[in-house]
């Protein structure tokens, strides 16, 4: 038994030649009609002004970092980076702290997004507010609260931990803790809207087809939120690697022991080793530029993977219809 090919549905190309004004990839704002066109003077004037703003604010500083870092030639630059054991240690410390903090916040972000986006429970909106809290706390205050907990003499747990030989403050664990704190919201904030927009249909479909909870998560949920995950991890990594204020407070700034790369920049500047400070800064700037490049790439990749020719089932509206049905 077979079904005849449905004749009513024409291939997309056969649609009459109406202007495809709201195709998903096309930005409607890109094709101004005369009624929307500003005079050329205004256009060029504003464009030049905007470019100048971005130039002075963003481009000049980036160029300046590399200029100063390379002021004494590539050989000196290289020595500044690799010959200084304290700088090498700072790099190693940053490379230790960042993956741990990002990993912990990734697990948290996925868990909390699942709970918040898929279920309703009392205190849910309070929980969402709590997730955002670290964004509105000054890094110095973030560092301070951990000093109050773990300070070896005055902290709440500090003296006990100190007596048992556990160092949190002025050591790697403290740096990891504050880094986790300041970067806590990133993954969760990316994932909650993604999960909410998708609705639970595909997951429910997986369950009716016999998938277990973990099978559903690995085979359906995770592939659907992967762009959000990558995005969150990217932003979280950039912020974790660059965090200064909070780490400044809890690390004790012990050269060769608790200096991360951003702290090393400050230390070198204080030691009047400006080219070395800029050399380290150039590494961090490169990381920032890579982050921006990766972000732009992710946005494009996501847009092209979401290109759906058939808009009959718009994402996000399915669950709304079911709600009407239930009401």
């Amino acid at each position: 038994m077979q079904l005849d090919a449905p004749p009513a549905e024409l291939p997309p190309a056969a649609v009459p030649a109406r202007p495809a004004r709201s195709a998903p990839t096309e930005r409607r704002t890109r094709a101004p009609t005369s009624a929307r066109q500003d005079p050329a003077v205004v256009r060029w004037g504003l464009t030049l002004a905007a470019v100048a703003v971005l130039g002075v604010l963003v481009v000049v500083p980036v160029v300046h970092v590399f200029w100063e870092a390379l002021a004494d030639g590539p050989a000196v630059y290289w020595n500044n980076l690799v010959r200084d054991p304290a700088t090498r240690h700072a790099l190693a410390l940053t490379l230790t702290v960042v993956p741990i903090a990002v990993g912990l916040n990734l697990v948290f972000g996925v868990a909390v997004a699942w709970a918040v986006a898929r279920f309703r429970f009392p205190g849910r909106s309070l929980l969402v507010t709590l997730i955002d809290l670290p964004f509105s706390v000054s890094p110095v205050v973030a560092g301070l609260v951990f000093v109050l907990l773990f300070g070896p003499r005055q902290g709440i747990f500090g003296p006990w931990l100190y007596a048992h030989g556990i160092k949190v403050l002025f050591a790697t664990p403290g740096i990891i803790l504050v880094t986790c704190f300041v970067t806590l919201p990133f993954v969760a904030r990316e994932l909650i809207p993604v999960l909410e927009a998708d609705g639970p249909e595909e997951e429910l479909a997986a369950l009716t087809l016999g998938a277990s909870g973990w099978q559903m998560f690995w085979r359906v949920t995770l592939p659907n939120i992967k762009w959000g995950v990558l995005y969150g991890v990217l932003l979280c990594t950039a912020r974790a690697a660059g965090e200064f204020g909070a780490v400044h407070v809890v690390s004790g700034r012990i050269t060769g022991k608790t200096d991360t790369l951003p702290l090393r920049v400050e230390k070198l500047l204080q030691e009047y080793r400006t080219p070395a400070a800029f050399a380290v800064a150039s590494v961090l700037t490169s990381l920032a530029l890579v982050t921006l490049g990766a972000k732009a790439w992710l946005e494009r990749a996501e847009a092209s993977s979401l290109l759906t020719p058939d808009p009959s089932a718009p994402r996000g509206e399915r669950s709304k219809e079911r709600k009407d049905e239930a009401a």
Binding site: L3, A8, L204
Partner: protein, 352 residues
């Protein structure tokens, strides 16, 4: 396998979605849950699937009480309204999903999926993504996916709601044939009575979370249990009058009404379908209402006539054969005489 629903209730906050529903779906049957938006039909389907847990009552598959069995252990096929195809998987892998999570060997998966792709006539579409398919194709993939693991029960939520009229028509017939050959107990939800009547061998009418009537399509259509069912199934003329001692009074009209022999007069709503009204150029001795012809649509298998009663504020819809209409020779503005061939009287609830 048969499905039994016993006294199932479900509330969402303050709103009652299901209110003491009891229902039997015979093994191998094809049942349509029919009702307006908000009637609870989708909720009932999701309760049967285990996608909602009822507040009260129980669900049985055959002899087994499955009320607390998670959806994934019920071995059922569910087709979602918007299909819920896995966007990141190919058509092949979508259909294979239930087999993969059951850890079928690769060879048997291939065999079963090709069989299903053949069944839905999409053998060449295996590597495509759902986003590259038309609505009707997605619908068929969703069905194939639901059938892959040979479920005992197939549930469909508004399966043709998002499709063009013509594709819908074909898929209905296809579903009918499919059900005939696979023989799986099937429940589908729809708000379209034509669809329900055409596909299902049993129709269940739901309203405000309650079952209003259940039965074979013809039975429900010919003998509606109450005014809601009458109203919901097709066009109808509603008259408000009174019954008294087996006679019905509508304005100047008086017709016998042997079902209601109460002595005292009662208010009643009278329902007459357009094709159950006859029309004539002059009084023919039968009880009739004089009315003015407002509009005629003579195209199609029936002529649809709209009339306004000369007395009272009442508009009438009448359907007669085109031949009869032409034979009458009436024009817009003429006066005609409308008489009921059959009327159904429903007393308001408070009178019962």
């Amino acid at each position: 396998m048969s499905i039994t629903i016993r006294d199932v209730s479900k509330r969402f906050g303050a709103s009652v979605a299901l209110d003491g529903v009891t229902l039997e779906v015979p093994a191998g049957g094809l049942v349509a849950l029919l009702g307006p938006s908000g009637s609870g039909k989708t909720t009932l389907l999701r309760v049967i699937a285990g996608l909602e847990v009822p507040d009260e009552g129980s669900i049985h598959y055959g002899e087994e009480n499955v009320t607390n069995l998670p959806a994934r252990q019920r071995n059922l096929g569910f087709v979602f309204q918007h299909y819920a195809l896995f966007r990141h998987l190919s058509v092949f892998e979508n259909v294979a999903f239930a087999l993969r999570v059951r850890a079928w060997p690769e060879e048997r998966v291939r065999e079963r999926v090709s069989e299903l792709l053949h069944l839905i006539r999409m053998e060449d579409f295996g590597p495509r993504r759902p986003s590259e398919l038309s609505g009707g194709q997605r619908q068929r993939v969703a069905l194939a996916r639901a059938l892959a693991a040979q479920p005992k029960v197939l549930l469909l939520d508004e399966p043709f709601g998002a499709l063009d009229a013509q594709v819908r028509q074909e898929l209905r017939q296809w579903l009918r044939r499919l059900h005939h050959s696979v023989g799986v107990t099937t429940v589908l939800v729809t708000h379209d009575q034509e669809e329900a009547f055409e596909v299902a061998d049993r129709v269940v009418l739901l309203n405000r979370g309650r079952v209003e009537q259940a039965g074979a399509p013809l039975e429900v259509f010919e003998n509606p249990a109450n005014s809601f069912v009458m109203d919901f199934l097709g066009r109808v003329n509603v008259f408000h009058g009174r019954v008294e001692a087996g006679r019905l009074f509508l304005g100047g009209l008086e017709v016998p009404c042997p079902d209601n022999l109460h002595g005292e007069p009662r208010a009643a709503a009278v329902y007459v379908r357009p094709h159950e009204l006859d029309i004539d150029g002059e009084p023919n001795g039968l009880p009739s209402l004089p009315a003015r012809v407002l509009h005629v649509n003579p195209a199609g298998p029936v002529a649809r006539v709209h009339l306004a009663a000369l007395e009272g504020n009442l508009t009438l819809q009448v359907e007669v054969t085109p031949e009869r209409w032409q034979g009458l020779g009436l024009k817009v503005g003429d006066t005609a005489y409308v008489s009921p061939r059959r009327a159904r009287v429903f007393l308001p609830d408070y009178a019962i």
